[in-house]
């Protein structure tokens, strides 16, 4: 009986009304605390309504919960989502386009946002509408053990993939470790193809182009690294590459720029940790990919949507995005953040904090097309096949294009 009373007593205390704007996110620990501070600051600043930020679990759990909520006709007001998730939500027609709100900003304010962040939130599959807004953005970076490089005669990180190969070969020979710990990830392949001066998606012909020259070169390079035992694959979805780098078992890994604070904790003062933009093999202007999630508003009443947008504006304002960047390691989404005192102090603490921001002009988003999530799986499966010696690079790139084409055709039909 007591239990039943207790059960009744603990019904939801959060009312979903116009004064409570529900925001589902995935941030934990220090990042969550930073987010809570920002939300509290916003709620204090204005008393008309309250943002209720709730941690919902990891991205897959958040995705399932949102899908369930959409089907039950009760999604949150705001949620963190990757582009592929937004495309899924759009199939149910529940995402509110942000163009009407964004267009209300004056041109100076619009120009204050870093272009690639806005570009990645426009969806060609939906008339290039702005369906989400940058939230936790970062770029893919190369991490390295600077001491190990110096020991092998390199006082700078690799600037080209040829240099990368040479350093790997030297470390393998002298230190008897497999220098590159690779976590198989489609984004890394895409970044490498960009850095080879290639593309992965041809919008005119509506097809992927992995079997073109750049794609072939990337997969051939990976195969060469594998054959010469210069690379090894870590357990999928694990952080073994971070652990290997931190314990001196590897010299290189490629991950998001947000990995740095945690990685630095792991490394401690054992060696000098380096982070730099990916090497490139030709004089090109893009050689990495944009990473990170966005935030989207779900359709509801105009007043709720406006309130949700008001929070996004606050969150992405220069002082707040600067604060968010310094506390989490994500990139600020506005150029104005660089002039904020808090961000200047952050850079002053350690110049390496500027590396990711310096890489931003060279970053490009992955395609925001329907079916991209499935194509990513195909890329990863074929990369695994190459890195484990089950398939040669030529067959792999060909297969990626063939399988991708099937997915794209399915989406078109």
């Amino acid at each position: 009986m007591c239990m039943i009373i207790l059960c009744w007593g603990c019904q939801s205390r959060i009312n979903k009304d116009e004064n409570h704007i529900l925001f589902w996110h995935t941030q934990t620990r220090e990042n969550a605390r930073a987010l809570e501070e920002i939300v509290a600051g916003f709620n204090q600043k204005q008393k008309d309504f309250e943002i209720v930020a709730q941690y919902i679990g990891r991205y897959d759990q958040l995705y399932q919960k949102i899908i369930g909520a959409i089907r039950a006709g009760d999604p949150p007001d705001l949620a963190v989502a990757y582009e592929s998730m937004v495309l899924e939500f759009m199939q149910a027609g529940v995402v509110a386009p942000l163009d009407p709100y964004y267009d209300e900003l004056d041109l100076k304010e619009q120009g204050n946002y870093f272009d690639p962040f806005i570009a990645t939130n426009r969806y060609p599959a939906y008339q290039n509408q702005l369906l989400s807004f940058p939230f936790t953005k970062s770029v893919l970076m190369l991490y390295y053990n600077a001491d190990l490089l110096k020991k092998n005669g390199w006082d700078h990180p690799p600037r080209s993939w040829n240099e990368f190969y040479e350093i790997c070969a030297a470390i393998k020979k002298n230190d008897r470790i497999i220098p590159y710990a690779l976590s198989v990830d489609a984004s890394k392949i895409v970044a490498m193809i960009y850095s080879w001066g290639g593309e992965v998606w041809n919008p005119d012909q509506q097809r992927t182009c992995f079997s073109e020259a750049a794609g072939q070169s990337v997969f051939q390079f990976i195969q060469k690294l594998y054959e010469e035992k210069l690379v090894y694959q870590i357990r999928p979805k694990s952080y073994d590459d971070q652990n290997a780098l931190a314990t001196g078992q590897a010299a290189f890994m490629i991950r998001s720029s947000t990995s740095r604070p945690f990685l630095q904790q792991l490394v401690g003062k054992n060696f000098e940790l380096g982070m730099t933009i990916l090497p490139k093999n030709s004089e090109i202007d893009k050689n990495t990919v944009l990473f990170g999630a966005n935030i989207c508003i779900f359709k509801s009443s105009d007043i709720r949507q406006r309130r949700a947008w008001k929070f996004i504006q606050y969150f992405t304002s220069s002082p707040v995005t600067a604060l968010w960047a310094t506390k989490t390691g994500y990139l600020p989404v506005k150029k104005g953040a660089i002039d904020e005192p808090v961000f200047k102090d952050f850079i002053k603490q350690d110049n390496i904090n500027l590396e990711a921001l310096n890489a931003l002009p060279f970053a490009k988003a992955e395609p925001t097309i329907r079916g991209w999530q499935e194509i990513r799986s195909i890329i990863e499966n074929n990369e695994t096949a190459v890195i484990t010696g089950q398939m040669d690079y030529k067959s792999a790139v060909k297969l990626i294009d063939i399988e991708s084409d099937k997915i794209i055709q399915k989406q078109i039909n």
């Binding site: 603990c10 939801s12 959060i14 934990t28 679990g57 759990q61 089907r71 039950a72 652990n243 947000t258």
Partner: protein, 271 residues
Amino acid sequence: MKKFTASLKYLILYGVAFFISFPFLWMVFTAFKSLTESITFPPRLFPQVWHWENFVQAWMAAPFFRYFMNSLMVSLIVSVGVVITSLLAAFAFVFLKFNFKKILFNLFISTMMIPFEAIMIQNFMLIKKFGWYNSYWALIVPWLASAFAIFLFRQSFMQIPKDYIEAAELDGCFPLELLWTVVIPLSKSAIATVFLFSFLGSWNSLLWPILVTDNPDLRVIQFGLALFLEEQGTQYPLLMAASTLTILPVTLLYFFVQRQFIEGMTGSGLK
């Protein structure tokens, strides 16, 4: 020679026991390590410096007491509920005569083949329709019946000698009386097994509680553990410290019912 064989036997048994309990030991000792030491290569079992503060930090990282009490309450109610509903259902399937008994039983059992992920969204929508979203009802009610437990009880009941049942019926026992006075006392091991399985299932669940609640007061222990899985990496020492604390009740429960649990497993023909 006899002494040697016995010693060898014990040595092998100790070896196997150590091998099986190694992950558990690893968890406990990692809970005392620093973050850097937790990933050291080559790995070390014992910490160089014992970081007792990890337990305090882990406990303070979230309202673990609240989560702990929620999990304990939900798991206990679910386990008791499953035992009651499954006892009654299995009793009917074994001792009562009614039409379509076999078909019904097969229907029950076939539900075990439907993966949770396939019905998750539909169940979620149902919970919303009932107005149970963000309540303990959502965490408890959907799990109060279990086809597996019914199957396990049925197997156990079928092993009760028919003479006992016939004797009780001759004495004028009503069905529920028969269940209470004869069947349950002879099925204690199976009951302990079902209780433990249900408790474990409920204690370890994460996805369902995340789906049906967003009120921080209703969060469960697994939710607290998930907080240590950061996007950029895992805080292993804190995660292990929190895990050590949270598995304590389950471990204690197992120590209390281990004899019945093992009997239940062997008695029901399961391995």
